[in-house]
Subunit: 492 residues, 2 copies
């Protein structure tokens, strides 16, 4: 914590990597590409989980748990999906280690203990879940089936970054089954909107809801809805996806039901997920050169109280005042930590809490005792005010609400300033190269054009926004006719 | 749900297997030895998790997350621990699948994509965690480190049973680091007592706290504390363990700290865990030939309301009454489900809720509307009473408390009746063979005797109870002197 962070202007990527480690959020592990989520980082993830879980249950979903492993034969049953993941899977081939007598008793994989069928460590669970659903669904009475799973998944990524792209990550994956196409599409949209609400109200991250183009779609999906956010370096980040899977998995796994007319039909499916990647989005959206900035709704503790004292007597007196404040704050459901550590000076504590993004800091010193005041500082603006003791809990409660709103508004203004409408390819390239952010442009609807633009500019179509208006125009690259603008950006 | 359960008397093991599946708790999956935890079963597990997590946090612990994989070299660093698990590990050797052109495009493991170092799927996380702690601990100021992880682990068991023994299971594992031996032992005992409190107060399962003998100890531990429960078939079940690890892992992973005198010392460690095995204990302790019996503190919903009606008009009138009751119950923090399904008759609903162990059932029919009453039935005793409408919420609240206590007391009486004090080996064998349960006997303290007794009777020493009194005696098998009785039993 001693050395200053690299600034965002200097090297945004380095700033992020340093911040994640220095703020005690996560670190790389001894396993290539796998991270350790440290207690402070995990506490934020737990808050995300709790709120998402509440929202899922409120919309009628239940949690369940399916196996970590997927037998290879099941994995390949849905062809497109298998193709999409085959290259980045961890594969279990053996089930035993044994001492190697030739090698000083070191362990080696026992060649005798080879599995008859290799097991894929789940990169996502459609295959194992749909294979299970076949036995759960017989009639329309068993539908809809609205299930979510909190789990770890593994994708053997070659270039990894803490939270943003790791070989193992934590996520939730919803897998639902429906009677009709319309109902499944409605579910797909509903869950995408749940993600949008969560991102905006809890993470204070404005997002654009949209649909992916065919080439950016989830393997095996007929339509992928998404929420797209914009980071401070002008790159977009896909923060959540919700897939309409049609009858693809039902057909691959033979999941039929007797409909109300008594006829057999394949069920309609959706799947949707968000992951610990959200942590990366949270960090990159709000934080500054001093460290993490956390929205109060997700902070492990919203307030920290730091006593400033020269002797035990002063500490005792300050502690009494602090305990009263803590009681008042907790009555208002505000989480607070009293940092009484005697191993650090107040200045070092201030620096640590700033680095870790605690939304509000209260400092109490001997002068404050005399004046019956405290010093209240807010992390996002780095401003301070002196508050009389009687008013502390009211002021802090208002402040936390203010901070939550202010972070969202600041991010929204930044995001909106970084949606550039362009109508020719020179302006397109210029914007992507210099300003960054989203470029709103007409596109002819072909994968060919999309690929070409990506090749030239590294920008991809992030989404076709749900609220995109019908508008006659011509494709920014090919000049062919187009009826809608889509959003391009370089992305994480 | 149509066919009756096998009775416990007929075949206890079959009864258990059927019950788990029919009550919709879990089922076997397409992956050998791995289970699917179904929504109703998972809802119980979530309640267990929530309460345990609260208890862990109350005792100062924080959650974190460590990688699923352990590099083989780390795994073997702590020799005893590695030996203990080597034979039952899943091993990842490759990281890619590819289409096999000779085999109709089916996927096969890509031989090119072999890992340089094989990865063991964690059977427990001491190795990866202690390898991480080395960088987290420099000084006594970093201690104690009190961390818990909720995770999945894999042990390649040959004979598996739903919840009781599965290849993959869910658990929590606490891993703590301390300055002194005394503090680590205190932590070990504290967490064992947290488990005991949870088992007794939430699961309504009386447990015996004790210490394991050397041969039953966790590989790598210096002492293993445990809680032992007794199932209805007279077999014991180890429901949780807490290990004092000494400095074994600190030495294996070189985790030293500067103590208050500035000297380098190895830290002292503990680890402790409970798993989805607890679900097995819960089911086997309370359930009967009609199905599951759940303690109210862990029931996904504590009350179900079933309307009995002949037409829509009656259903509307009943629904109005039901909604009032639901409001009153929720005000008292009682969870309730209104079972309005029109696809099942009331009798079928009663049977299902009985099978699924819902603690209290309220039935409301046209007669009840006239009389302003409802019928309240309790699952554990299968008794019913008529309750006037005004009193329903009070009666139900009391009833739930009663049921929670009654289940514990019933299990306690059964357990205590099945602790048999014996002083000769004929009585020992006779008790184990016919009556079952715990046998309290003197033991000479040697592994040799323990092994012999196990060979002859299949009974193992479940624990040396923490409250065992000093008592002069002779070993029930060898006749050698002994100062304490220990508890033997056949066990799951």
């Amino acid at each position: 914590m001693s050395k200053k962070l690299t600034s965002r202007a200097e090297d945004y990527s380095k700033w992020y990597n340093e911040l994640v480690v220095k703020a005690d959020l996560a670190e790389n592990s001894a396993v290539r590409g796998c991270m350790v989520i440290k207690p402070y980082g995990y506490a934020i993830w737990e808050k995300m989980q709790a709120e998402l879980d509440r929202m899922f249950k409120e919309t009628g979903h239940q949690n369940a748990y399916f196996p970590l492993f997927v037998p290879k034969s099941l994995f390949e049953a849905e062809e497109k999906n298998a193709e999409g993941f085959a290259k980045e899977c961890a594969v279990v081939t053996h089930y035993r280690l044994q001492s190697d007598p030739d090698n000083e008793g070191k362990l080696r994989v026992d060649p005798e203990a080879k599995l008859e069928e290799e097991l894929v460590v789940r990169p996502t669970s459609e295959a194992i879940i749909w294979n299970t659903y076949r036995n759960w669904i017989q009639s329309y009475r068993d539908l809809p089936l609205l299930i979510n799973q909190w789990a770890n998944v593994v994708r053997w990524e070659m270039r990894t970054r803490l939270f943003l792209r790791t070989a193992e990550f934590l996520w939730q994956e919803g897998h639902t089954a429906h009677e009709t196409k319309a109902e499944a599409i409605e579910e797909t949209k509903l869950m995408n909107s749940v993600y949008a609400k969560f991102a905006e109200n809890f993470m204070a991250i404005p997002v654009i809801q949209g649909v992916k183009t065919e080439s950016e779609r989830f393997a095996g999906a007929e339509d992928t809805y998404c929420i797209e956010a914009l980071m401070q370096d002008g790159k977009a980040l896909q923060a959540g996806t919700s897939h309409f899977l049609g009858q693809n998995f039902a057909k691959a796994f033979d999941v039929k039901f007797a409909n109300k007319e008594g006829k057999q039909d394949y069920v309609w499916a959706t799947s949707w997920g968000v992951s610990t990647r959200l942590m990366g989005a949270l960090i990159m959206t709000h934080s500054d050169d001093n460290g993490l900035v956390l929205p109060p709704n997700l902070a492990p503790y919203q307030v920290v109280i730091v006593p400033i004292y020269k002797n035990e007597e002063q500490l005792d007196a300050i502690s009494k005042v602090a305990e009263d404040i803590i009681g008042d704050l907790r009555d208002r459901n505000i989480s607070v930590k009293f940092d009484k550590r005697d191993t650090l000076r107040p200045g070092a504590k201030f620096a640590q809490h700033e680095l870790q993004g605690v939304p509000v800091r209260i400092a109490i010193g001997p002068k404050d005792l005399e004046n019956e005041t405290v010093e209240v500082a807010r992390r996002d603006t780095l401003t301070k005010e002196t508050v009389i003791l009687d008013r502390v809990s009211v002021v802090v409660e208002d402040l936390l609400e203010d901070i939550q709103k202010a972070l969202f508004n600041k991010a929204l203004i930044f995001r909106n300033e970084h949606i550039t409408v362009v109508d020719n390819f020179d302006a397109f390239k210029e914007t992507i190269e210099t300003k960054g952010g989203f470029v709103s442009a007409h596109w002819d609807g072909t994968t060919e054009t999309e690929d070409k633009i990506k090749e030239i500019t590294k920008a991809t179509i992030r989404c076709i926004p749900l609220d995109a208006k019908e508008e006659e125009g011509v494709c920014v690259y090919s000049g062919k006719p187009s009826q809608k603008r889509v959003l391009f950006a370089k992305a994480y």
